[in-house]
């Protein structure tokens, strides 16, 4: 049990949720949610925790990650307390608190810091990339200041740091969720393998996400599946995973693909199309704001989405450039952008919205564990 802490609400507000103190505790949000269930009651419970300052309860809640932010709760909240936005804010809060370095806290709380960090990283990565062509004037200039070995070492340190932080974050979250799970341990109803299977099914089909905001009369109920948020998310996620696999395959076989009909190249092309489709539509929704979900888009949301979009687009450009022999200098520049953006995504994995890619499956695993 945590202690009551009235300061927590102010801290949470810095992560984007500002209206939740209007809540009069009616439970409408929980009742309209298609995903809330006996083993996972939200968002009202999260509002109570936030108001009372029960930090540990929040951080050990799998419920945070059960939510896909369809916005139904916010649209029907009698107090306009915006529970959906609180859930999103608490996820940012959790990402920031799971990893120990404190960098994520700065990123989410301060927009100037996050922009500065991104730019600094981009500059460093740019230099790093330039050193890959040692006969380049700029590279020679860099090497005169800093030997290749130092740069290489720096790279190793950065990637070790980011990897370690991610692991610590995962560990921190799992430990909390597990201890919460154990206190309700009489509820364990499924084996580890069954539970992992269930998580895999969810990742594959987005079955839970498909239930969001589709009751009769709700916004997405009349829209085709292809443009619904769950499919947009599915496209981005599987597009990204596909590209990751394709890149690894290319790397393993050391064959910078002479023909586009190579299986790994085909996988890359198809995945890239999915990624571009998903991210473009997601950005379109964030601009046009068709539902309550998109009304409070934060810089962190934009950055993550924009980076994925740029990575997808530049990657696809290179695909086209290779096939059609387009201008080499331009391709070099685009390749730089592509690599810098992709590297930033990887380096900032544990410090950004991207971290949900591991935190959500972990939470889903614990949900599966005590479900019938």
């Amino acid at each position: 049990m945590s202690k009551v802490d009235p300061k927590l609400a102010k801290d949470i507000a810095k992560y984007g949720a500002v209206d939740f103190s209007a809540c009069y505790n009616c439970g409408n949000c929980t009742a309209v949610c298609s995903l809330t269930e006996e083993n996972a009651s939200f968002p009202r419970m999260m509002i109570r925790y936030s108001m009372l300052g029960m930090k540990e309860e929040i951080l050990s809640s799998k419920e945070l990650w059960m939510c896909y932010h369809c916005g139904d709760c916010s649209a029907t909240c009698p107090r306009q307390a915006d529970p959906g936005e609180l859930m999103a804010g608490l996820r940012r809060y959790a990402i920031a608190n799971y990893e120990p370095s404190g960098i994520t806290k700065l990123i989410f709380k301060s927009n100037p810091f996050s922009i500065l960090l991104t730019l600094v990283l981009a500059t460093i990565l740019g230099f790093f990339l330039l050193t890959m062509k040692p006969d380049f004037t700029v590279s020679r200039w860099i090497f005169s200041w800093m030997p290749y070995a130092v740069i290489h070492l720096m790279g190793l340190i950065v990637f070790s740091f980011t990897g370690l932080t991610a692991l610590l974050g995962i560990f921190s979250m799992s430990r909390r969720l597990n201890s919460k799970h154990n206190t309700d341990s009489n509820k364990t109803k499924k084996s580890i393998f069954q539970s992992i299977g269930e998580v895999m099914t969810e990742i594959g089909t987005m079955g839970r996400y498909q239930k969001c905001s589709t009751d009769e009369g709700e916004y997405w109920s009349t829209k085709p599946n292809l443009v619904r948020p769950w499919f947009v998310h599915w496209s981005i996620m599987w597009g990204f995973i596909g590209l990751l696999v394709a890149t690894i395959l290319d790397f393993l076989f050391k064959d910078p693909a002479t023909t586009i009909w190579l299986p790994s190249r085909i996988l890359g092309t198809v995945s890239g199309l999915f990624l571009i489709y998903g991210t473009s539509l997601a950005m379109f929704y964030r601009i046009t704001k068709p539902t309550k979900t998109y009304e409070a888009t934060k810089l962190a949301d934009w950055m993550f989405l924009f980076f994925l979009w740029v990575a997808g687009l530049t990657g696809f450009w290179m695909e086209v450039a290779v096939s059609f022999n387009l201008s080499e200098t331009l391709s070099q520049v685009i390749f730089m952008i592509h690599t810098i953006i992709s590297m930033e995504l990887v380096i900032l994995f544990a410090f950004s919205k991207f971290a949900h890619a591991v935190y959500r499956p972990i939470a889903l695993y614990f949900l599966a564990r005590n479900r019938e």
Binding site: C29, A31, S41, T76, P78, G217
Partner: protein, 431 residues
């Protein structure tokens, strides 16, 4: 009418309990009052209710003596089926109002209310005075205790077949009547326009209007009233007597999403009252009330609430999120049980939505020269709410009853007392 009076001391807009009380008080002080009511009968909402809380007195038995006293008072003239179209203030104690009298197509002095016309009329439409629970004819006496208890023709739905004209024993049917708009002089005005009920069709997640066995609290009020249409409690879908009813409180009250963030002040109590009455009408039935907070703040209210609990009414804290319908017409209510923090789905065979009350702001368009001010919730603004609650922003215009905010019957009568004494002192004031 040759010798029609065109000058009155007071114009009272609205013939509900507040308007009647105001008119009577002024009339007893020998002021001449014109009472204008847009419905076909005076009596307002109260005359349609079953019983009143917390005494469980019969609403009709309390209100009908007042209604007939109002109707028979020599100093009160009543225009039913009429609307005030424009009020202009010309000076102190000098108001000019245009009043439109819609025709009944029935001669008021000839009709005896025998209802011989009704059986012959071939047109059946929904009865607005029974809140659409049953049908009525196009020629009809509004309801059995209406005042005046005479027929009217609903010309919108009338097929002009003339059957009623032949059936009428006193030749009261007159299709040649026309709307009549005249200008009258008044020395003061009292606004007693009451309130509107929230229409739950605006909350599609409750499925009112789609799921057959969901009714509003006003419909249940009719099912429970002495002049009730079915003579028992039935669910509208299939005529089954319900044995597991649910009340959904705060439907359209304390809810920003429907534009009414304030408490309606009466729903908790009338729901508790209906639950108690249902316990009597359907002794085997279970009644569950889903609430956010029970607001039983008046004299005797909390005891009334405790009585209901003692009688076996279930009180469950949690706002109903959505209602879905099963094939057999039963309803599934989904809510977050605040006691346990778990989402629950429960089945009931009939659901009553305890609808909130909303401001009736149409009177705003009526004031032409000086605009009548409203508060944030579109009720008539009380400019000196604590010291002189009947005052509006216009000198000589007063507000009575629920036109100034949500309130129950005793408070409406108190408010009408205040408005009538303010009006009387304004009328008697020496310049």
């Amino acid at each position: 009418m040759e010798n029609e009076v065109l000058t009155y001391d007071a114009l009272v807009v609205g013939g509900g309990i507040a308007g009647e009380e105001t008119a009577l008080n002024l009339a007893k002080m020998d002021y001449k009052v014109l009472l204008v009511e847009k419905e076909l009968s005076i009596g307002g909402k109260m005359i349609l209710l079953s019983k009143v809380f917390p005494t469980l007195d019969c609403a009709a038995c309390i209100t009908t003596p007042k209604v007939s006293e109002t109707a028979r008072h020599p100093n009160i003239t009543i225009f039913t089926g009429s609307e005030v179209k424009g009020i202009e203030k010309k000076g102190e104690r000098n108001f000019e109002a245009r009043i439109l009298r819609n025709p009944r197509y029935v001669k008021e002095d000839a009709c005896t209310g025998c209802q011989e016309c009704e059986p012959v009329c071939p047109v059946v439409v929904k009865d607005q005075y029974q809140f659409d629970l049953v049908g009525r004819k196009a020629v009809f006496v509004p309801f059995s205790i209406a005042n005046p208890r005479i027929a009217a023709i609903d010309i919108e739905n009338c097929s002009l077949c003339g059957a009623c004209e032949k059936a009428c024993p006193s030749d009261a049917i007159d299709f040649s009547q026309e709307p009549e708009e005249k200008t009258y002089q008044f020395k003061s005005v009292v606004v007693a326009t009451g309130y509107k009920l929230f229409d739950p069709i605006k909350m599609p997640r409750y499925g009112y209007g789609k799921h057959k066995n969901i009714i509003t609290s006003m419909q249940m009020e009719r099912e429970l009233a002495p002049t009730r249409p079915f003579n028992t409690i039935l669910r509208p879908g299939d005529g089954k007597m319900p044995d597991n009813l649910a009340y959904v409180l705060c439907t359209g009250s304390r809810d920003h999403t429907v534009g009414n963030p304030i408490c309606s002040q009466v729903c908790c109590m009338y729901s508790i009252k209906q639950a108690q009455l249902l316990m009597g009408a359907l002794p085997m039935a279970d009644v569950t009330i889903y609430y956010l907070h029970i607001r039983s703040f008046g004299k005797g209210f909390n005891e009334f609430y405790e009585t209901a609990k003692g009688m076996g009414v279930e009180f469950v804290k949690g706002k109903i999120g959505k209602i879905s319908e099963k094939e057999n017409g039963n309803l599934i209510l989904r809510y977050d049980d605040i006691e346990t923090g778990q989402v629950k789905e429960v089945e009931h065979d009939m659901v009553v939505l305890s609808v909130g009350i909303l401001a009736n702001d149409e009177i705003g368009q009526v004031f032409k020269t000086q605009k009548l001010e409203f508060d944030d919730y579109r009720y008539v603004k009380q400019i000196d709410e604590l010291k002189r609650p009947a005052m509006t922003n216009i000198d000589g215009v007063f507000v009575a009853g629920a036109a100034s905010g949500p309130m129950d019957i005793p408070d409406s009568i108190l408010s009408a007392g205040s408005a009538s004494s303010e009006a009387a002192s304004y009328l008697a004031e020496v310049e």
